[in-house]
Symmetry: D2
Subunit: 328 residues, 4 copies
């Protein structure tokens, strides 16, 4: 039985809390949040106690933590948890600064605790099945990975300002998927981008529309297309071309109904956003973490996976700025 | 080189005329129509000569006829053509009266000429591929055939009055498909029907909505659902359940485009009606006829196929009237 | 907070138990099963107490029951629960005998307790959305309902022997869907059927393949096609043709992946069986029941819905036996 | 009535010849080919006369030419035809060298004859419908164009050696589509590529796998993914993201059949290659050319469209070589 402390009673924290509560092999013991009413509201729903971070970390009966607080607190909470000997599940990213990530991961390594990053998409049933099929050789050698990743609408500009920019905030998930599916590290990154959705995003120094291309040492290529606005829902598709075939994962819909009339044949649009699309993935990633820790195995995706995705995001950011491809 | 006389310069006649004109192994020599201007218009497009039926049949250089005139003329034109020794391609049906069909087929048999009925759906690329897959055993033994057959809208009531009724006019195609796919003769027919589309159809003594169920000696079952109105186009689908799998043929569309927006994901509706949906089938059925005649083989579907479909239509008509299933 | 007693620790009971356990407005207090180890195993997972039926019904703190025991116990458990003043959620059917159902429903009525039948399909997100769209007039007036309902494989013959036959065991769900979607009572039933899957089913006096047609007073028609074997999974589709359009609900799949290679383009087959396909429906039906009871409203589907579906199943059974349509 | 001379009795020439032959407003008068037996074979099928180029151009009754000979002859045949005052339909490209194209187009301009390039994809029913929907504002302002373009297998290396390289030979069609759909000129091109399919292609100095990204002055972006090998057929898809929606055009298949069994649900793979996929497009582009010339209007796509696509192909070639984006 894994006993968890939760840091951060945010929307995503609430999801993890509910999933821990429903898991037969885990228990949510405590919740901490700088905004105490949030912690209390979530505690009321889950039966956990509200405590401060120090108390949680000092409790020897707690053997794991979930970090779902704001991004700027991740690295220090990871370090504190590592020093307290807890197994760590942390929402991505470790930090927006690669050097800070390095220092943080060094602490984790030194403390010898397991750390897993919340790259939830690896646990989406369709993406997982796709990756398994690739790994089983169903399409031969991977030659090209195409990732479509579009949000239904942009976040508030206040969020964009502290997000680290599109590539570190949004594309970082796609970089992780690209690495996972290529089965090989990208060595070159080129990015183009524009602000087409909302001028306020440009004023905040960011873009909302982008295309990133990647190339690996073996010559495999990948492309990621992003937009902060898809009026038809959360557009999350992947396509992998291999030497003997092609695999795709399409969007998911709430229902399978279809209306035929004089206008055409209309079916449901994709599920609205990540909470709906990745509901099963959130459950599965936590289950995988619990299973790994209980079984004494290293959980994945690792802190190193988080670092590498960030390195690609940094390279894309630099490419966008310089207008030239960047070697990684 | 097969030299054709065409009887009937109707819409369907015009299609056959164009297909003969484009065929490298055939030539359209003459066109006859009781309405001479129609014949002349079609002749102008195809380079054929306008002659009367007797002249065409008396021409020894003509070795085949296409009968595309009104239904009530089919049987006597078939008989006259048979006596003149021509190979005969006739639009369905031979006649609306089974006894008349029998007499007509007896003449054809006596004259020893080849006769094929225009059951065009057997030549639709998708239905043909489906039937081939069934015949190759891709789904094991056939257990259930489901045919969806709906017109975009009803014909004029004046047509309905002389049509022989829904089962002889419209369902007859579906009866042919059912026989073809079951690979076995239905021995029992049950039909229910209603007039839901237009009360004028009921006043004309007909129905516009129907469900027919069939059963064969081996216990295989089939169902046909008909409507004279599908606001989304010509709905022509087939599904065959077998002991080891299921085969479907879906509708065809003019394009493959798809619009995603806040309303949903909308693609093209089915092709509008038989001229569009079965354009390739009309071409293929004529090609098959020409190839068979040139190769000295019996063309199919045969006159007997026409007779058997009519027998099923008669049985359905009787079932509807009596409210009881009818043995065939 | 609704406090439940569960009667029957079967596979379906376990599902309801888990759904009650996860529901914030309900609590599973007790479990009863003639096979005590089953009850204990389920109790261990859910924290409920194992008690006998009498004890549960005598407990005034318990205000609702879930009946998930074998079919032959349903009617008497409903009656006992009704007399104890509990709100009742019962798996379909009330009983296989219509007269027994009548007596049971009379008791329920007399006791004035709410009763809902587990017609889970009404709560499937796709079927529910389809029915809502029909009810909102998206396709005008309903003219034809087509239900495809095929199991992945037959149950053991031992089960078939006590099942009441295909129409009362399997088609009963489809009869409920037909009534729900037609928005009107069928007045005529005709059924054909065969034993094509396993001769042992015929020896047990049952069929495994069937087509049922229904007609209502207004002339709307419906057809249901059943098979006990679909090698490609649980085939559960619905199609409704209306005066201004058509609505379909397609099968659901575990993933959206698609493999393209020289063989074709292959996607997932349908979910395997009812536990997978209707997992969300089981959750939703219980939630609807709890919400209705807590809100003082009558839950649906009602006992009367159960009775009417059984009447149709009886009519289909008689039609199969007599070879003639049956008026209802 | 347009009277055509055909230069080049190649595979693609044969298609155009058949389409002219079937067109009611055109006639194929002559065929010329350096390989006289090819010309004679095609002449035998179409009834055209075999003559040399000079004779054809000197014939005042001929008012249009179709150039379907090898690429290296295009520019001079265009010039000769222009000087002879013929309307010109030429297979893409005008030439592989941009300077040569400029000189050729100058001659055409001076002679004042109409010239159209065979960018057949603009006439594919699905792509055409997609572009029309974009032009009608169905998705608001165009933000991103994604083009998937993969051949079923590579051409012979001997062909690759004279092809001008992947971007000038294959991607040039995609550049034309990108320009057409963006409705704006790309101003920046970046390309990455690899040789993954056949090392002999690398030895010939070419690549077989590529990703190209484009950016326009307004900030709209486009990406093209190419491969010389798709084991599942000719993969030709387009997706356009706009401010209010998204439009896609999917692949086309020979049939709509679908096989469901224990392995999954399998439908047809895409049509095999351009002859099948673009059969309708070839017909439509010639019809559009004939209609334009007969109506005294300028046919499209124009020589300038050809030049601009080549400029993008050159830029991509340079980007691949230098590893840097290229301004256009």
């Amino acid at each position: 039985m894994l006993k968890f402390a939760m840091f951060g009673a945010s929307r995503i924290g609430a999801i993890h809390a509910a999933n821990v509560a429903q898991h037969s092999g885990a228990e949510l013991a405590t919740i901490s949040d700088v905004h105490r009413p949030s912690a209390e509201a979530l505690a009321a729903k889950t039966g956990a106690k509200v405590v401060d971070v120090e108390t949680a970390l000092a409790d020897p009966s707690i053997n794991a933590v979930i970090i779902a607080s704001s991004t700027d607190t991740h690295a220090s909470l990871i370090e504190a948890s590592a020093k307290a000997g807890k197994a760590i599940f942390c929402e991505k990213p470790v930090d927006l600064d690669a050097a800070r990530v390095d220092r943080c991961l060094a602490v984790v390594k030194e403390c010898g605790v397991p750390l897993s990053l919340g790259f939830n998409r690896r646990f989406d049933p369709s993406f997982r099945a796709l990756q398994s099929a690739v790994a089983e050789g169903k399409i031969g050698k991977v030659e090209m990975v195409c990732i479509t990743s579009r949000d239904p609408g942009p976040p508030p500009v206040s969020y964009i300002k502290v997000s680290g920019g599109l590539f570190r905030d949004m594309t970082i998930h796609d970089f992780d998927m690209a690495r996972w599916l290529l089965g090989e590290e990208p060595t070159e990154v080129f990015a183009i981008g524009s602000c087409l959705v909302d001028p306020a995003i440009a004023e905040a120094g960011d873009i909302d529309t982008a295309i990133v291309t990647l190339k690996t040492a073996s010559g495999a290529v990948a492309q990621i297309t992003n937009s902060r606005r898809a009026t038809y829902g959360y557009d999350q598709r992947i396509e992998v071309l291999g030497s003997t075939g092609m695999l795709k994962a399409e969007n998911r819909t709430a229902t399978t109904i279809e209306l035929s009339n004089g206008e055409g044949v209309t079916r449901d649009k994709p599920l609205n956003f990540f909470l709906e699309r990745y509901a099963e993935a959130y459950k599965a990633e936590l289950d995988a973490f619990i299973t790994a820790i209980e079984g004494g195995k290293a959980p994945a995706p690792t802190g190193e996976d988080g670092r590498r995705a960030l390195v690609l995001a940094d390279a894309a950011t630099q490419s966008l700025k310089t207008g030239a491809p960047v070697k990684v």
